[in-house]
């Protein structure tokens, strides 16, 4: 059994100042909001945050001053609008923002998961991304000379995920889009997962194997105000209020 039961306080202790933290979920779905709120309340500082397509989770950590560096292909509150803290941070240059494409970030995570220093990709060739992302190096394939993007592995200390269900062994069950969670779990040194409910074990249907799970936190409603399909939907009115400038931890607390 790979996964032990943890409290949210133990999760906070696992994420020291300066850590590199990956946040699971995609857009307004399955964000690990309960865990992120705890990090914000603990006033963590100088975090490097990695998000596939971030939303209120990244926003909260930015609003709380926890972030030194952000790696993401994008952050937004669609359909509620643009993400105000993210926009401000980029326009003011108050954080280091490392821009990825979706495919290139997945390639970087795959390199980390496979234990190689870099991995070639076909995505992003000819773009300006290498000018704003030192993890990317344009090159050519050594065999046939095809232009490629060489993508450096991104080292992640802790991945924080949230899923609708976990079984007693720590296998994770997800419906809908898994986003990058499977690769986050493989690439990170530790993967800690909030879950809505326990379920009977059926490893063949698991989205993520217990082999990649280091700790489980029972956290019902733990993605709110984001959604956790199929258990509950995102609260679009909260997202809209946040987009309009109500950027306080209180409105993100169920």
């Amino acid at each position: 059994m790979g996964a032990g039961a943890l409290s949210i306080d133990q999760v906070v202790q696992s994420v020291p100042d300066g850590a590199t933290v990956a946040l699971g979920g995609i857009r307004l779905q399955r964000r690990p909001m309960a865990l992120v709120r705890a990090l914000a309340e603990a006033e963590r500082r100088d975090l490097t945050v990695v998000a596939f397509l971030g939303s209120l989770d990244v926003e909260l950590l930015l609003a709380a001053g926890c972030v030194r560096e952000l790696h993401a292909p994008g952050v937004g509150l669609d359909p509620a609008g643009l993400a105000p803290c993210y926009r401000r941070a980029r326009e003011e240059g108050s954080i280091r923002f490392v821009e990825w494409s979706e495919g290139l970030l997945l390639t970087s995570l795959e390199a980390a998961a496979r234990g190689v220093p870099s991995h070639p990709a076909w995505m992003g060739v000819g773009s300006d991304l290498p000018a704003v992302n030192p993890w990317l190096a344009p090159g050519t394939d050594p065999f046939d000379g095809t232009p490629v993007m060489n993508v450096r592995a991104l080292a992640i200390d802790v991945a924080l995920l949230h899923v609708p269900a976990a079984d007693g062994d720590g296998n994770l069950y997800v419906e809908g889009d898994l986003g990058a969670d499977g690769l986050f779990a493989r690439a990170a040194r530790r993967t800690l997962v909030g879950f809505e409910r326990s379920c009977p074990g059926d490893p063949a249907r698991a989205a993520i194997s217990r082999l990649w799970v280091d700790g489980l936190i029972e956290a019902p409603q733990g993605a709110r105000p984001c959604g956790c399909h199929p258990t509950y939907r995102a609260d679009l009115n909260v997202a809209r209020r946040w987009a309009a400038g109500a950027t306080t931890i209180e409105i993100l607390t169920p």
Binding site: Q29, E91, E102, G126, V174, G176, G227, P230, L236
Partner: protein, 272 residues
């Protein structure tokens, strides 16, 4: 129609969504990756009218999904009704690389070479106006797969001579890129874009974005109404007209968005 969004945008939403559906149906794509509610409605309509085998995909791991064109869904809302998620997050990218997928997007900037930008307006790495980020644009544009750009407005703010940041590079030779706007339908054909058909007044809208450099021969057909079969199918797929939010003026879009959000709050999590 004017260069700016006006009113409800319902008529142009119907025209462009139905035309996107027709384009999908006439294309050779076997998979369509949905992004926005309008693209969901178009894909469902294409499948209903002409392509019963069309696979609708979205996000990164949910192939063969049964999406619902609801406001909170879009690309991340692939409600698969119990389909177990595969553990391999590369499906969309494998399909893109093999040229097997079609996708519709709306970057903040699209330029005369087919390059795209959704990162920011202003200097590279220090934008004056920060936008969501590159997202999948660098991936789509490099691929031989078919990409449609769907805009609710034909504006020189979005259709520019050169993007501020090249998120998506100009596509490879031979890759099909089409643009649907209230001015008409256009295709990237080296060099630049050429008109395939125009709406009434479309030529005037084209002239308002001169840097984008669309070539019009003067002989383009004028399209006034969408294909009725596809329009009926779009309306059946999206009876709540969520698609119109993407095309409406800001105030009206906000009102419709609020109504849709309120409606969804009374539905169960899988949209029934």
């Amino acid at each position: 129609m004017t260069a700016a969004r006006s009113g409800s945008g319902a008529a142009i939403a119907d025209l462009l969504t139905a035309e996107l559906a027709r384009e999908i149906a006439e294309s050779e794509v076997s998979v369509f990756a949905v992004t926005t509610p309008a693209s969901v409605a178009a894909a469902l309509a294409a499948r209903a009218v002409a392509l019963p085998e069309l696979v609708i995909a979205g996000g990164f791991t949910a192939l063969d999904a049964e999406p619902i064109p609801a406001v909170s869904l879009g690309e991340a809302g692939l409600f698969t009704h119990g389909l177990p998620v595969r553990d391999w997050p590369y499906d969309t990218f494998c399909l893109l690389a093999r040229g097997r997928v079609g996708v519709a997007t709306a970057p903040a900037q699209l330029d005369s070479t087919g390059a795209t930008n959704l990162s920011g307006i202003g200097p590279l790495g220090r934008p004056k106006v920060a936008l969501p980020g590159p997202q999948g644009l660098p991936d789509n544009n490099c691929s031989p797969s078919r990409v449609w750009y769907l805009y609710g407005v034909h504006s020189p703010r979005q259709l520019v001579e050169r993007v501020d940041m090249v998120c998506g590079a100009p596509p490879p030779s031979g890759a099909t890129r089409r643009l649907l706007t209230p001015a008409g339908c256009f295709e990237l054909a080296s060099p630049g874009w050429r008109a395939l058909w125009l709406t009434p007044g479309g030529a005037e809208l084209v002239a308002q974005a001169p840097g984008f450099g669309i070539r019009c021969s003067g002989d383009e057909p004028i399209r006034t109404e969408p294909d009725g079969r596809f329009l009926d199918a779009v309306r059946a797929a999206d009876p709540d007209e969520v698609r119109t939010i993407e095309f409406a003026a800001a105030d009206e879009a906000g009102r419709r968005w609020a109504l849709a959000a309120e409606r969804e709050s009374h539905r169960d999590p899988v949209g029934r």
